[in-house]
């Protein structure tokens, strides 16, 4: 038996599928990494399938079965391509500001065509409803963007309703909270506005503080948001909102300030003046990009239809109720 015929063996297919199954189990229990196991198994299965399709004329004659396996092959190739071009990331955006392509974290395939800087939109604020027990319900986030023709568009997105720009899909997440807006006026320099995103609320209700730094300052600053009570009651329905009464604590070295909105909002620091502006919310977005998805769906649908066609043809030859 030639090497090609051995490679096209149906027994080998069965053995490879069993190995694939065992590999996934081992990966699931943490004994092996997922990606290499899946890549190796799918590569060998694809090779086995390709050689079988090329060398087995009987296999090609069964048109429905042939189409099914061709579609399976397409799925494997598309999944591989998808890993080369995908992007998955997280971004945080303060209410009223425009997304500038900066991500908090991300992973991407080596061939990803970076177009994030063209996916500009503005976060116009959100609402999040809570059931008793701090169970997060629906998130609604208003966003706007400018289309290629120059028209301004608005939409309301959520955890399951993405904003799609340049093929990137932006979803809201559980990750959201409060943001402190400051203006930094360096001595003899130009003033600039920046925001300090505090840890996610209410997940980190007791840790509403953040360390950050200003250009030209030797030491980092530390800011904390203080307010009384729970904004979202744990034992009844509620919604995410900004606190009505609060103060902002700022520390720099041994110095400490308490800023109260409408009263004292300015701090003199070495090298400039820091002015507290206001409190806003920020939303954490998850974004994904994978151009293979529509093709994967098409290939999967063809695979299932071909399989159903094959079984239909097989089963219609003999009635079910015949002894």
């Amino acid at each position: 038996m030639s090497f090609l015929h051995r490679l096209a063996s149906l027994r080998l297919t069965a053995a490879l599928m069993a190995f694939f199954c065992a590999g996934i189990l081992l990966a699931y229990f943490g004994k092996l990494p997922f990606a290499p196991v899946i890549s190796a198994c799918l590569s060998v299965l694809a090779l086995n399938l390709m050689v079988m399709m090329a060398t087995n004329p009987r296999f090609r004659q069964q048109r429905s079965l042939f189409v099914f396996h061709l579609a399976l092959l397409a799925i494997i190739l598309l999944v591989a391509l998808g890993r080369m071009i995908y992007l998955k990331g997280e971004a945080e955006l303060v209410e009223g500001l425009e997304f500038d392509g900066q991500l908090v974290s991300m992973e991407a395939g080596p061939w990803h065509p970076w177009r994030l800087d063209q996916a500009k939109f503005i976060n116009h604020g959100f609402s999040v409803a809570y059931a008793p027990g701090l169970k997060r319900l629906e998130t609604r986030n208003k966003v706007s963007w400018i289309e290629a023709g120059g028209d301004r568009r608005e939409a309301e997105i959520g955890d399951d309703k993405p904003l799609i720009l340049e093929g990137y899909r932006f979803y809201t997440t559980w990750n959201k909270g409060f943001s402190l807006l400051f203006e930094w006026i360096p001595d003899g320099g130009e003033a600039g506005v920046g925001s300090v995103n505090l840890p996610s609320y209410p997940a980190n209700a007791l840790k509403q503080a953040q360390q950050w730094s200003l250009p030209g300052l030797k030491e980092p600053l530390w800011s904390m948001l203080q307010f009384e009570g729970d904004l979202i009651p744990a034992d009844q329905e509620g919604h995410f909102r900004l606190p009505d009464n609060y103060r902002v604590v700022v520390r720099y070295g041994d110095q400490r300030w308490e800023l109260v909105p409408g009263e004292n909002q300015v701090i003199n620091l070495p090298g400039g003046t820091l002015r507290y502006l206001e409190l806003r919310s920020w939303m954490g977005y998850m974004l994904t990009w994978d151009a293979t998805i529509p093709w994967l769906l098409a290939a999967s649908t063809v695979a299932v239809l071909a399989l159903a066609w094959h079984f239909w043809a097989q089963f219609s030859r003999r009635p079910w109720n015949q002894d």
Partner: protein, 272 residues
Amino acid sequence: MEALVELRVLWAAVVAYVLAGSIAIVGVLLKKRPEKIVLLLMTLGLVLHTLSIGMRWDRLGHGPFVSMFEILSSNVWSLMLVFTIAYWRLSVVRPMAAVVMPILFIMMGWLMTVSPGETRLPPTYHTVWLFIHIGFAKVFMGFTLVAVGLSGIILSRSTAFGSERFQRLPANERLSDLSFRCLAIGFVFESLMLIAGAIWAQDAWGRYWNWDPLETWSFITWLLVAISLHARLTFTVSPRRGAWMIIAVFIAAFLTFFGVPFITQSAHQGAV
């Protein structure tokens, strides 16, 4: 008060199912075929069960997709529905009820022990893909259950007791052919379930596949079905070996549907 009525209707349905199953088992033991009364009781149980699920759906404003009580109840309903149709249409193999009903008794007993407390539908469940995904999953499980019933007969025939009780049924080869037909149809629906689930996951969580525990176990089950069908179509598989393959598939599917929700707190939590 409404919740109590729903539960009473559910209990009445379970009583009808248990009576149907018990009569079917006694019928096999006594070599009788009380098929009309079994079919009637199963249909009565289904009507009552549908009413109970409908009342709860109307009261809570969402289908039985969230808690273990709801998942078990809806799965007992869908498995009974598929099995009742198979029982009605496949008259030659009706005694398989004696094999299938005890499996459903276990699920009904489990259903009686879990809390029927009120639930809320998570935000990502407000989509038509939930119904499509779950619908396909239920059809897959239903056909696999029928395949298990036929496999149970094949395996029990290797004993003198089973051989005597099921002697009037078609030969093992024919039963094996029917069981693999059911598995093949189940495979088509399981594939559709995975595709619908991937579409839902893409919309809900921005990824069509993430190897979360339920996805991983669903794929392992899919692979086991694929291996079984591949072996059946490619090699000479004896009815007994084929029956064991189908039972292995059913165990994997059962653990995926009802076991995985116990070991994961991920968003994709056994909502079948």
